[in-house]
Symmetry: C2
Subunit: 600 residues, 2 copies
């Protein structure tokens, strides 16, 4: 049976040496994140998800969610009880504002906990995860009345929340939305339309679900500039806070999906449901992006979270399963066979998984720190720098993070051989669950276009230049130290590939924007590798310093240094090929008429 242990030691190492949590102790919120508190969150939160949520992961997959004839949806056995425990223990409130009943901790701390929760049970984690996106939108754009009415009980977890964007004919292109919102005399709107792929759209975990819905008001233009955001509670909330009548919104069906069966993905029917405008009319896109940006970082974390559990299990299996002999002669001659761990190709997969999961953990937490600094840093320049970095890195964390998550889950399944393909062993679920993260909240192709089409060019390329300067500075420092000089030299070369690719876009994108589009995904991967390489440079620099100072667990630090070298030798070389692909441009990509794609 699968197992999961929260990687607390590694998280702590990253928070201390990559994020530098203590250096920000003077900022609002960070005062709540003392080392003792953070340790307690990691230890106790990790224990909670491992003991309560992880045992339900396969249950959720095999049972899925059930829609009953009356439209009610029930979750898999144990989910409701676990959710109650989750609410009671307050794990969902870590970084919510204290004014609304939250614990006011930095985003970086709740991100560390969220990784664990996803690792334990991704489908479960999506229920509170979706609510967090809705909370963020209400806090940013909702009226004081709306915030007061909905947010406290969403923060506590008593009520759920959703994001309703997609319609059958309308995925990425939100200009195609058909859901209508008709203004009523009392200031409310009647919402009518069908939304699909609504995660956590209907379920039995909470008394109420607060839907945030994109719709068009009468006469609104036929583009994404015509959409508005509405709040539509499943159950109407009276002025005294008590629950009133059922609103005219219901789950029409549950989708049958490849994975995340434990989460109810609903078709939602709005049949003249009562809703209220959130923010200004026809400014729904901006509000939506507040939800989306938070959600995208959360999805990147899903890539890491699922990969971590898959990886851990592959390590256990490789230690237990005996098959064949080491190429260098029997490692355990008294056994009938050696463990899988003696085989270099099994280790290659495990080392890639280790280098990528630890690197992505650092990148996700460093990214989360930028979200905190963007809002909390005392200095305007620091806030701007943080906003630039997280703007640049959000599509990378989402796109590169989930592409790697799927790769790692697939490789971890591969370590199991035939048993990996059998459901009861649990590995194929990780692959199926990880797969959705590459698709939703904007496919990874959309992430890449957001990166190369918007984020690169914004403010005259300020963000990518700042990122390049950070890498160059840390490379220069690390080159002076024996233990990190090799990785630094390799990272410098990778940065050169990144900068050359950026320049190539500059030189060739104006002439034909398809030259940028055709290189978008390779560029996202190139930047992902360099950013993860920067994290490894920081981790190895810290590890070398601690080891030389006789501090810390030397085996752990040595492993960091070996894994950093592996990253340099085995992953950084990909940047050259990615750069050459980008420089291939759009010509052959766009040349053929669509009918020529079918050779038949």
């Amino acid at each position: 049976m699968p197992q999961y242990t929260p990687p607390v030691r590694d998280t702590r190492f990253v928070l201390e040496h990559v994020v530098g949590l203590d250096r920000h102790a003077n900022l609002p919120g960070f005062a709540n994140a003392t080392p003792d508190t953070v340790d307690a969150v990691l230890e106790e939160g990790g224990r909670f998800v491992a003991e309560v949520l992880f045992p339900l992961n396969q249950v959720g997959d095999s049972h899925g969610c059930t829609r009953h004839e009356d439209g009610r949806v029930t979750t898999a056995p144990g989910f409701k009880e676990a959710y109650s425990q989750f609410v009671e223990s307050g794990w969902g409130t870590l970084s919510a504002p204290e004014a609304y009943g939250g614990q006011g901790m930095p985003h970086v701390v709740s991100t560390a906990f969220q990784e664990y929760m996803i690792s334990a049970n991704m489908a479960f984690a999506m229920y509170p995860g979706l609510a967090h996106g809705a909370i963020a939108a209400l806090l940013a754009k909702g009226s004081a009345e709306q915030q007061e009415k909905y947010v406290p009980r969403m923060v506590s977890g008593e009520w759920g929340g959703t994001m309703n964007l997609t319609e059958p004919q309308c995925g990425t292109d939100l200009g195609l939305i058909r859901t209508r919102a008709e203004p009523q005399a009392d200031g409310s709107y009647r919402i009518t339309g069908t939304k699909i792929f609504i995660s956590a759209g209907e379920h039995d975990l909470t008394d109420n679900i607060i839907h945030l819905v994109l719709a068009k008001t009468p006469g609104a233009p036929d583009s994404s500039k015509g959409i508005s955001l509405f709040v539509v509670p499943k159950v109407m909330v009276n002025d005294d806070g008590s629950l009133g009548e059922r609103n005219a919104v219901s789950c029409g069906s549950i989708e049958h999906k490849m994975g995340i069966h434990g989460n109810a993905t609903c078709v939602m029917n709005y049949d003249g449901a009562t809703g209220w405008l959130v923010g200004e009319e026809m400014k729904g896109l901006a509000a939506m992006f507040i939800m989306m940006n938070a959600a995208r970082l959360g999805v990147g974390l899903q890539g890491l979270g699922v990969a971590e559990t898959a990886y851990q299990n592959a390590v256990h299996y490789a230690r237990d399963r005996r098959q064949g002999r080491a190429l260098t002669g029997p490692a355990e001659p008294n056994e009938k066979a050696d463990t899988l761990f003696v085989h270099p190709d099994v280790r290659r997969m495990l080392m890639e998984a280790k280098a990528l999961t630890e690197g992505l953990r650092a990148l996700c937490l460093w990214g989360a720190l930028q979200v905190d600094l963007e809002h909390q840093a005392a200095d305007e320049g620091e806030r701007q720098m943080a906003a630039d970095l997280i703007g640049l890195l959000t599509p990378v964390i989402k796109g590169y993070g989930t592409d790697m998550g799927y790769k790692i889950a697939t490789d971890a399944q591969q370590v199991y051989g035939g048993h990996g393909y059998i459901q009861e062993w649990g590995m194929e679920q990780y692959v199926r669950d990880a797969r959705i993260a590459q698709i939703y909240e904007g496919t990874n192709g959309i992430q890449a276009m957001d990166l190369v089409g918007r984020k690169l060019a914004q403010n005259g390329g300020r963000a990518i230049q700042a990122f390049g300067r950070i890498v160059a500075e840390e490379v220069a420092a690390a080159k002076a130290i024996d233990a990190t000089a090799d990785l630094a030299t390799r990272l410098e070369k990778a940065l050169g590939d990144l900068q050359a690719a950026t320049m190539w876009f500059l030189a060739n994108g104006m002439r034909n924007p398809n030259n940028i589009g055709a290189g978008a995904v390779p560029y996202m991967h190139l930047l992902g590798i360099v950013a993860t390489g920067l994290m490894w440079l920081r981790m190895s620099t810290a590890a070398a310093r601690l080891r030389d100072g006789g501090e810390g667990d030397s085996a752990f630090l040595d492993a960091k240094l070996v894994t950093a070298r592996f990253f340099g030798e085995r992953i950084l070389p990909e940047t050259g090929a990615l750069r050459r692909k980008i420089e291939g441009g759009a010509e052959t990509v766009m040349a053929l008429a669509p009918e020529m794609f079918l050779a038949a």
Copy 2:
């Protein structure tokens, strides 16, 4: 709903211009493969699989197979009737020997048909596919009596066949087999043991199933040198050919798998079943490899076959689905949105799929030709060369082919966005089905070790040197032609990476064989890319010649030339990174103690 059209035009182009079927018309068997006959096979066989087998593909996935309390297994609705049609129409007998009721056609022709059958319904295609492996083993190692008794009705499809290798404790490492075979006074053996993961182990498609089973005779050594092969019919066959009593072999359960639900993957219990030795005692490994090598090429073809269907559907979806606008301005201003085809990143995925499927089709068929030439070529040198090439390429076609098959299926699913994750659209089934091909018949890591640990070094490296000479000669010729010079130059560079990697193994493998193991999979991909590049060089050389001569369909030929350029610009650059990974060696791969893989 998904659709599938056999790519007959492309197959014909490959048979004519890459395989050069007409140049071998003087060989035994090839006389049966006149252009008209081959056309009929492609057209009629393609129509059969598209009309009869493809409509059952989703049915097989959603219904799976059912084991009843009495041990009977029934297949999904429609499978039995479709199988009867398959037998009646004789599509399973194409390349079987005429002496046993087959049509005696070259292997390359039946391979072309098999690709279509897999594309239409991979799970269905496995039923006759497994029988073919069993036939090959019986023809190579069975006694005349065994051949006469079993083969004709296996060829006709009246009876099925299986390969029984794996046991719970024994996957790759066949020395660990525990199934026992005790000799009886009448020359038969009593077979006792449990086999797992037995594809088509029990089902209702045929009256009898002929199991080929690896087991150990008393006193046999505790290694793979101690295993023998036995034929164990499900139902005993009387001397007059009539069916007798049920043998003591039964299906204990059906595995719940990630995919290929339409095929019954069985736990098989041998409870003192009656069997007969095939070939010599303790020479089972050699007989097993006859089945395995045929099966590995078939599995490589599964990578291609599933990818082709996934790709075709992604093309249709990209042409139908409207979302967003072209980067260069609206392509169809009168529509509310452009089709997905305007987006460079969608095209990038489709072009990669096109370049890889067409390249792999050529490689699979060229490989199948080597199987024919190995046995049929008049000249000893030609037979040896063919044997060398197919020995070298079998792990590449299996390993690289199925890794690319999974990648293409995943990308095709990605083109669908959220709909790709929903079962009814059919795309996620292709990903789940394609996944097994990377695992069974020897994981792709095992393929890579077969390649670098055995095939590279055999006969002083004769095979890889011969392959390198073929590439170098065709590169030299193609460099002299304008239309192919660029691809030739790029392929020459890729060949240089391959040769450098080979030399690196030579220089560093003796000192530490883990240096070879750690680079095995990257090397398999490197060779796969160069081999597929050779196919594209041939296809573009032929296309340029035909186009310049005013022959053929110019749009089709232009598409070949564009796709060849794409392969050169977008896929060949990967060889440099693969070489650098190989040159990273084993040090960091093998350095860490297993317990250091868990950072927790």
